[in-house]
Subunit: 339 residues, 2 copies
Amino acid sequence: MIRVSVNGYGTIGKRVAEAIMLQPDMELVGVSKTSPNMEALVAQSKGIKIFSPDESSKKFEESGIKISGNIEDMIKYSDIIVDATPNGVGAQYKTLYEKYEKRAIFQGGEKPNVADVSFSALCNYDEALNKKYVRVVSCNTTALLRTICTLSKLGKIDKVRATIVRRAADPKEFKKGPINALVLDPATIPSHHAKDVNSVLKDLDIITSAIIAPTTLMHVHLLNVTFKQQIDKEDIVSIFLNTPRIVMVSSRSKISSTAEIIEVARDLGKMRNDIREVVVFEDSIYTKGSEVFLTYAVHQESIVVPENIDAIRAINGISADESIKITNTSQGISGGYII
Amino acid sequence: MIRVSVNGYGTIGKRVAEAIMLQPDMELVGVSKTSPNMEALVAQSKGIKIFSPDESSKKFEESGIKISGNIEDMIKYSDIIVDATPNGVGAQYKTLYEKYEKRAIFQGGEKPNVADVSFSALCNYDEALNKKYVRVVSCNTTALLRTICTLSKLGKIDKVRATIVRRAADPKEFKKGPINALVLDPATIPSHHAKDVNSVLKDLDIITSAIIAPTTLMHVHLLNVTFKQQIDKEDIVSIFLNTPRIVMVSSRSKISSTAEIIEVARDLGKMRNDIREVVVFEDSIYTKGSEVFLTYAVHQESIVVPENIDAIRAINGISADESIKITNTSQGISGGYII
């Protein structure tokens, strides 16, 4: 059993913690929380051990939430730490992971140089094998990489041009967004997403631009991929249908919005309406000679969860095929059509 | 077994259909759908029989979705029909229910005179016993009635004054709202909600005003209830904690928004993040002499589901205590604190 703890119990941390509990080869040591709020109450109700900084212990005591030690205790008890602290905070914690000689997974909000390798399971799993520090790229970059690496099996890619329409805030937030505007993110092109893709696919010619829209549900990417040769639409459909971390929206479902995708996830009883797959609109796939156009949606809250689980196994020297298979089974990821 | 069909498979219809499937004393005959869209695909994937108008059968055939007959067939096979068609359409269908001498439940979007009685399980269950046509009041009215009838156990209510802040649209909608505005609904006072409460509590002095806000998650009601005598806060807390169709948001959870309530529902794995209970903010309960102030949230998509199930049993002559108990158990409704 790989003993894993999750440092930071926000949107990503809570999902990764629950995913760890579902893995046959992992044990969740616990999670860290700095304040005894509703998410601490939820963790406690699920039987998850909570560790907190020493300065917070009094607050927890007052609110009647049991803590199992401080964050250094949690690190000591673990083989691997998944760092899901806010952007930039992971780099500060790295000194603590180093102090106890523990391996760690960082999220895409950290700079690439925090880790030995930036990671996307379908692109460069093997580069993370037995590494000490691995960084799982962000939700947008994870979606770009899954899609691009899947398409690259059909032929040599010449270049990728992509527009990213980002959700303004996560559903649970009540202090920011969605703002009543379209916001260039940033106004300069390329956006940082292209650079982040290049942290994994170093030689790819990719330019991205991004805009923030007033919605909370999902991101949407509009891709224009140019191959070195002509590509048939049916080959694209076929490879997407046979790649478990990608699901398709069929023409007959008449779905044309992120609202409907989330509604299907709710109707199917998916926990938290999470969708860990890239969701490609089948009707959007269009080819013109060597150019391919397509549109897909990205569930920003959950898409990186399987990659975090795979990264834990990669660090432990377990092969890509084996890890991806276990992760997909435990997470109900099976590809095909969403409905 | 009571054979029930659901006419109309939208936001309310799909939830009522699934709730029927969970009742030990009911059998779901099927649901009606007019177009073979994503919701039809979801119904099919759950093994729910679909009936459609004759004019739609070709569309279903083309899309490969099996239909089990037309809507008259569905009505014929049923003991009771839950009508969850759009506002005003239920009244048109009533002639069909009458033709086949079938009993029916209507929703709050129909006028009160469509049915023999307007229904709220905690207020006037017995009035619906053995009736032919029962109308379950709307989501907002259901919440008002549950709260008022529960408070009325503490003492005689002199008057209720309430502000209703409505969500602009449901989460699944992509053709309307939330608009970027606050909309008076309507500008004249009282709003229709007071009148709808009076369809059940005929003598209550109640005035409501309503405003629409740009959000999809939940409604919020701000109540000012004046009793004939002084009321203690602790008695209100106690009665709410002991009423299963009401849950409380505790002070220590630090929840102060509908976004956080929905996030808790997601974290707890509640199907579609539905919350069938009225969600009262404990901190909002404030008393001044005989006046009580309180604020609660209403999950517009699902709050009327238990009342629909109870109405089916009331029509069949089953007692309030027995029905409410079975409904609560099957729907996971247990009261107390939400977390």
